[in-house]
């Protein structure tokens, strides 16, 4: 909330169509000496679902963690390049990662609810950080987030239970609700369905389609069908010779799955990949 109001009052630094959404320019990322990403440049459109695909270890997680400055949390990790969030470089000196993460929420590969907190407190955790105190407002916000995450009906009677007492799929949706509660502008999802059964997976896919009305969504997935089902845009990453991930192709999902420009994309999508 804070940031949205503030942003509209600031002069826009980069005019043009690229102002909203995320513009990634020549992004490089390292873990210590190991380069995990090389020269990735692309533009993520607002209110669209962008999927990131590629073989294991090609740097998909690393890429989306660079979009909310979570990469630097890993000891020894380093980033170079620009990531413009609505025109502002989130890696510019003086930018506090705390404020970036407030605007760009994240759902992790494995569900990670806070086990010492109740379901309610899990969802409220982000709101409490920002100093929201009034109980009425709080329970409204929690309910709204749980509704959005399609979890409300299942947990409305066990809001006081521990967050880790839910099933795996429920936990993942709890994590989604937790991220949605603070009303970010962008939602990053790192293989949110990798630990889930088909039913839970399809619920989360429905959710993603519903959420794009209000959020810009970037979703990492190993599942081609899933990428085809939920996303508008697709980015395909592949390891280079030195195992650093590179962007091979980026474009409309439909076009990429029917008529890829790069033969490596085609090989990967059709499952003929080495």
């Amino acid at each position: 909330m804070v940031m949205q109001e503030e942003r509209t009052m600031e002069p826009q630094t980069t005019p043009g169509p690229a102002t909203r959404g995320i513009v990634v320019q020549k992004l490089n990322a390292w873990y210590g000496p190991l380069q995990a990403l090389r020269d990735v440049s692309l533009t993520i459109l607002p209110n669209r679902v962008t999927s990131v695909i590629g073989p294991s270890g090609c740097g998909k997680s690393t890429f989306i963690r660079c979009l909310n400055r979570m990469h630097e949390v890993v000891p020894g990790a380093r980033v170079q390049g620009k990531v413009l969030l609505d025109g502002e470089d989130i890696y510019a000196p003086g930018v506090d990662p705390v404020r970036v993460r407030r605007r760009v929420g994240m759902v992790f590969q494995r569900p990670n609810p806070f086990p010492t907190m109740s379901v309610f407190d899990n969802v409220a955790a982000g709101l409490r950080l920002n100093g929201l105190r009034r109980p009425g407002q709080m329970s409204d916000a929690v309910e709204r987030a749980l509704q959005q995450a399609a979890l409300w009906d299942e947990v409305k009677d066990k809001l006081k239970q521990s967050g880790s007492a839910l099933s795996g799929g429920q936990q993942q949706r709890l994590c989604i609700a937790r991220a949605l509660a603070v009303q970010p502008e962008v939602l990053l999802m790192d293989e949110p369905c990798s630990a889930l059964d088909p039913v839970a997976t399809s619920r989360i896919e429905d959710l993603v389609r519903a959420l794009k009305e209000r959020y810009t969504i970037v979703i990492v997935t190993h599942n081609m069908q899933q990428a085809a089902r939920v996303s508008d845009m697709t980015a395909f990453l592949l390891m280079g010779d030195d195992r650093a991930g590179e962007l091979i192709e980026y474009g409309q999902t439909r076009q990429m799955f029917t008529n890829p420009r790069d033969e490596r994309t085609e090989a990967y999508i059709t499952g003929r990949f080495g």
Partner: protein
């Protein structure tokens, strides 16, 4: 909007403040160490020379004097404790590591951990009742027994941990050759864990070298030099204590100087242990 900004600024300040406090706490902890070691050096400097190590105590008023008896006494006590404590500790550690998967192992492990926490003064009283009373005299032997009891659980637990680190492939390879299990343990696991076992013993020694309380009721102290295991014996920590609570400045200085030597001994052992353990299984 201003209040949101205020909330953010307050959160950021709190974060910096708490991070700073944690750093400060660390600085305080480390400075205490440096202060203690520094003081022993500065205050004991007058006595930190070769004479102090080689000479025996002088009567009050006469210059010089050293702690030769005390050094020898401490060496004898530590050696005695090692001879009594290390073999048993090693075997107990071997048991815990190699056969300790069941309930007995669980109990022994807990008992060892708990024994590590028994106050050394209680061990001293126990050995007084167990050895000194029946023998009718304070003695080097009882001091050694007390120190051995204190180091035993330390050696046992470290040995266990270190032997467990020996990769299972070693064990399996040895067993596949058809040699009996005990040979496998003695000739494969133990040598493989040698560094660790030495480490455990050294940790035990570091732990007992500076012990004072249990020696008061067992070794007692002796100003006339080593007179056999059945007689009272001098020890550096005991002498530091007696000098420290005395009323004389030169004795205080000698307490500082002896403390410096003792601290150096313990620090050197600890640093060696650190160096040895940092190189295991890389």
């Amino acid at each position: 909007m201003t209040t949101d900004m205020q909330v953010y600024l307050r959160r950021r300040t709190t974060s910096y403040l708490m991070v700073g406090l944690c750093g400060l706490a660390t600085l305080v902890a480390v400075s205490i160490l440096l202060l203690v070691v520094g003081y022993t050096l500065v205050k004991g400097i007058a006595f930190l020379n070769l004479d102090f190590v080689t000479q025996t105590a002088q009567p009050l008023g006469e210059p010089g004097g050293g702690i030769r008896h005390e050094i020898i006494g401490t060496l004898v006590l530590v050696a005695l404790a090692s001879v009594l404590g290390i073999p048993v500790g090693l075997l107990a550690g071997a048991y815990l590591s190699e056969f300790g998967g069941g309930r007995t192992g669980l109990v022994v492990r807990l008992v060892a951990d708990v024994l590590t926490g028994v106050p050394s003064v209680v061990v001293g009283i126990f050995v007084y009742v167990l050895v000194v009373q029946p023998m009718g005299t304070f003695s080097a032997l009882s001091g050694g027994v007390a120190l051995a009891i204190i180091m035993l659980p330390v050696v046992a637990r470290t040995t266990e941990e270190m032997m467990r680190l020996v990769p299972a492939t070693y064990r399996e390879a040895a067993l596949a050759l058809g040699i009996p299990r005990w040979r496998m343990i003695v000739s494969v696991v133990m040598p493989g864990a040698m560094v660790g076992i030495v480490t455990g013993s050294m940790l035990g020694i570091a732990r007992i070298a500076g012990e004072t309380a249990p020696l008061i009721f067992t070794a007692l102290g002796n100003r006339f030099g080593f007179a056999g295991l059945g007689q009272p014996i001098a020890a550096m920590p005991l002498q530091i204590w007696r000098y420290a609570v005395s009323a004389y400045d030169t004795w205080h200085q000698q307490a500082w100087a002896a403390s410096f030597l003792l601290v150096m001994l313990v620090l050197v052992i600890s640093i060696t242990v650190r160096w040895l353990t940092s190189r295991r299984y890389h």
